[in-house]
């Protein structure tokens, strides 16, 4: 593998020295919304929208400036302050605005702003709307910290910040026990990934004396293979936790308990892709260890199949989309693990996925809005006529995700499949089959939701959503169509300095693998149409003995596996510890106290209340003391 010499970022001047405002503004607005209370109930949400739009405008200005400057002057370091100075450690907090992070900043603030606007309508009747927007802004600030950080420790601050925001927002409807439990589940499962992250950072600090990206990238080529593999696998563990990759995937489906805009922003477009960002950002380490990068590919392949499987068997529209998100992030992971050939494609797919998946989640939210928050697709049907805007925008996302030529997902996913075939046939075939299953479950979703006969519950009157919700849908649908073609040739060249990968030829016309992909996708669509489009859809899920269906409906038994392997042994150990504590430690302490109490109740019999006995004791004592004194004098 040939990698380019890492270029040192240039010092910040002009606009770039204000890059920190991107993070500070939403953070401050979040604090204001939380601290000032109900006086902001009426305007708070617009304040939050303004904060994100402000961050987006800064990101856009910085991006424009980068476009104008020479390729080797595009990465800009923005030092902020000395963070930790103790002993031999000097860790400074700073921002790195380079080709990779600016794309993320644009995605986070751009899609984030659209979702903020959408939420104004979606959360209009929620009495805790101000708090919701405060959390959303907190998320934007944390996510920007994550992607703009110039070293792993600052990244970790953002990493934990998005975890917190995710926890708060999944459990936003805290009156529902299921939502509260889902938030806790996401938080706890993320801690496992964080363990990997912290250990990787500690290893970096111990080996390189610094956690800055530049220092790590510069020192990584001289790393011993053992340490490269260790750090790589630990980073992968962190990425698995955050990006809901197998084996830490189980929290994402439950995370759908949160309000739909949260699912769109955090659990589809931005936060869950942080793992992919982490792997691409740490490419220097993964390139030094074939074991670690193979592990990334394996995780990606397994997850893309697992997610697709779950997506195919769920009736809950949001869970289908969640499975699909897992699956698509699996594609990104797969690409990121392929090495330099895949980095740009991983980021490419991440960006297009950010658009079309946010689009579809918001579309699903719009459908739920019209259907009185019913999420069961078996109660939908025939919505295309009554929700025209939602249907057409959703259709754009649908065509993009299944990879119809010309739409965004076609370019990004096709490149990943081709790159996978270049590196390994197994990975390539997995990616190819995954594309077919994607087409299957997305067609199933479209057919069950928008087409076919109306299976609505009584007293449900679907209606189109207000303009604050449809305008973001239209904008996202627009990008779901054009984003792929816009970035197809440009993104590899743009990311070259940041990922150190050489540009590869990409053809607009599909090659043999491209045709095969199209064929698989077409058969996926046809199969789904044949099963769900030609026959009426039952109102309740038919009982099925098919092991594939049963496994899929139970989230591949992810909860059962976690319960058996982790939860129950942990409970057993803690019960054992409690018993040990009660029976041994507590009993020991109690026994000792009993001994002393018994001794003292014996000793207290000496206190008779008889004055003459006391006098006798005193006399004996005096005689004894006197005798001792006299005897020692004599001796």
């Amino acid at each position: 593998m040939i990698t380019l010499e890492a270029l040192a970022p240039v010092a910040a001047t002009g606009m770039f020295s204000y890059a920190w405002l991107m993070i500070a503004t939403p953070a401050v607005v979040a604090a204001i919304l939380l601290l000032f209370g109900s006086i902001l109930d009426r305007i708070g949400h617009w304040l939050a929208v303004a904060a994100v739009l402000f961050s987006f405008s800064i990101a856009a200005c910085l991006f424009a400036q980068q476009l104008q400057s020479a390729p080797d002057a595009r990465a800009v370091a923005v030092p902020m302050f000395e963070w930790i100075t103790t002993g031999m450690w000097h860790i400074s907090a700073g921002l790195l605005v380079d080709q990779l992070s600016i794309l993320f900043a644009l995605l986070v603030t751009g899609v984030g702003a659209l979702i903020h606007i959408y939420s104004v309508g979606y959360m209009a009747h929620d009495e805790r709307r101000r708090r919701f927007f405060a959390y959303l802004n907190l998320f934007i600030a944390a996510m920007l910290t994550l992607v703009l950080a110039d070293n792993y420790l600052v990244l970790f601050v953002g990493w934990e910040g998005v975890g917190l925001a995710s926890y708060l927002l999944i459990g936003f409807w805290q009156h529902k026990p299921s939502a509260a439990a889902a938030g806790t589940k996401a938080f706890v499962m993320n801690r496992i990934g964080d363990l990997g992250m912290t250990m990787a950072i500690m290893a970096m600090l111990a080996l390189f004396g610094s956690s800055a990206f530049t220092a790590v990238n510069a020192a990584a080529p001289h790393l011993e293979p053992f340490w490269a593999t260790t750090i790589g696998l630990l980073l992968l563990l962190g990425a698995c936790g955050k990006s809901a990759q197998v084996p830490l995937q189980a929290w994402l489906l439950d995370a759908m308990e949160g309000p739909t805009p949260v699912s769109a922003l955090i659990h589809a477009a931005t936060m869950v892709t942080a793992g992919v960002y982490l792997v691409v950002r740490s490419h220097a380490i993964f390139e030094m260890s074939s074991a670690a990068s193979t592990a990334v590919v394996v995780v990606g392949c397994v997850t893309l199949m697992a997610g697709a499987w779950i997506g195919s068997s769920k009736d809950d529209i949001k869970k289908v989309l969640a499975g699909s998100t897992m699956s698509q992030i699996g594609y990104m992971m797969l690409a990121a693990g392929l090495g330099p050939v895949g980095y740009a494609f991983a980021i490419f797919h991440l960006l297009t996925h950010g658009f079309f998946k946010a689009n579809m989640f918001l579309g699903a939210g719009s459908v739920m809005h019209g259907m009185d928050d019913d999420v069961n697709m078996r109660h939908y049907g025939g919505l295309a006529k009554v929700m025209k805007v939602t249907f057409w925008t959703f259709a754009m996302g649908y065509l993009a995700i299944i990879g119809v030529p010309g739409f965004a997902g076609y370019f990004s996913k096709d490149h990943i499949i081709e790159a996978a075939f270049e590196v390994s046939t197994v990975a390539g075939v997995t990616a190819l089959i995954g594309a077919g299953i994607t087409a299957f479950y997305m067609t199933r979703l479209m057919v069950m939701t928008f087409l076919g006969e109306r299976r609505w519950r009584e007293k449900v009157h679907p209606h189109e959503s207000p303009w604050v919700m449809t305008v973001p849908l239209i904008i996202l649908a627009f990008f779901s169509v054009v984003a792929g073609a816009l970035m197809n040739n440009w993104i590899q060249e743009w990311l070259e300095p940041a990922t150190g990968a050489h540009v590869q030829e990409t053809a607009l016309m599909p090659g043999p693998i491209g045709w095969a992909t199209l064929l698989v996708v077409a058969s996926g669509i046809a199969l789904a149409w044949w099963i769900f489009g030609t026959k009426p859809v039952p109102n309740v899920a038919p009982a099925s003995g098919n092991p594939f269906t049963v496994t899929g409906r139970n989230d591949l038994f992810g909860d059962l596996i976690n319960d058996t392997l982790v939860v129950r042994p942990t409970l057993a150990v803690s019960r054992g510890v409690v018993t040990g504590d009660d029976r041994i430690i507590d009993a020991g302490a109690d026994g000792l106290a009993g001994v002393f109490s018994g001794l003292s109740s014996q000793a207290r019999r000496l206190q008779t209340g008889q004055v003459r006995a006391y006098a006798l004791t005193m006399t004996i004592g005096v005689v004894l003391v006197g005798a001792v004194l006299i005897l020692t004098q004599l001796a």
């Binding site: 207290r604 206190q607 008779t608 209340g609 008889q610 004055v611 003459r612 006098a615 006798l616 006399t619």
Partner: protein, 99 residues
């Protein structure tokens, strides 16, 4: 002069006082025995002071007598109070001060 005989007398008086405190049940008698012990000590101190030719023993004796007088006032009033409430001055009967 030799203080021997005075010291012997003081020792005998002290012993009588000690035994009196230990064996007599009547609080008044026990109290008198305590006084006897005090005066035995006083006698010993005066005898030693005489033998050494100094005055400190005599002075200390005065202090003891003053303190003893004060102690008698307190002690007798306690005994009288006990007698009033219990109709007895037996020290064995006054045994409530225990656990």
């Amino acid at each position: 002069m030799s203080p021997d005989n005075y010291v012997y007398l003081a020792a005998i008086l002290f012993t009588i006082g000690t035994i009196g405190v230990m064996i007599r049940r009547n609080a008044l008698v026990a109290f008198m025995s305590v006084e006897l012990m005090l005066n035995a000590a006083n006698l010993a101190m005066v005898a030693f002071a005489l033998a050494r030719g100094g005055l400190d023993g005599q002075v200390a004796t005065f202090f003891v007598m003053v303190v003893a007088a004060a102690e008698v006032v307190v002690g007798l009033s306690i005994i009288i109070t006990i007698y009033r409430t219990r109709r007895s001055t037996s020290v064995d009967a006054a045994n409530l001060l225990k656990l």
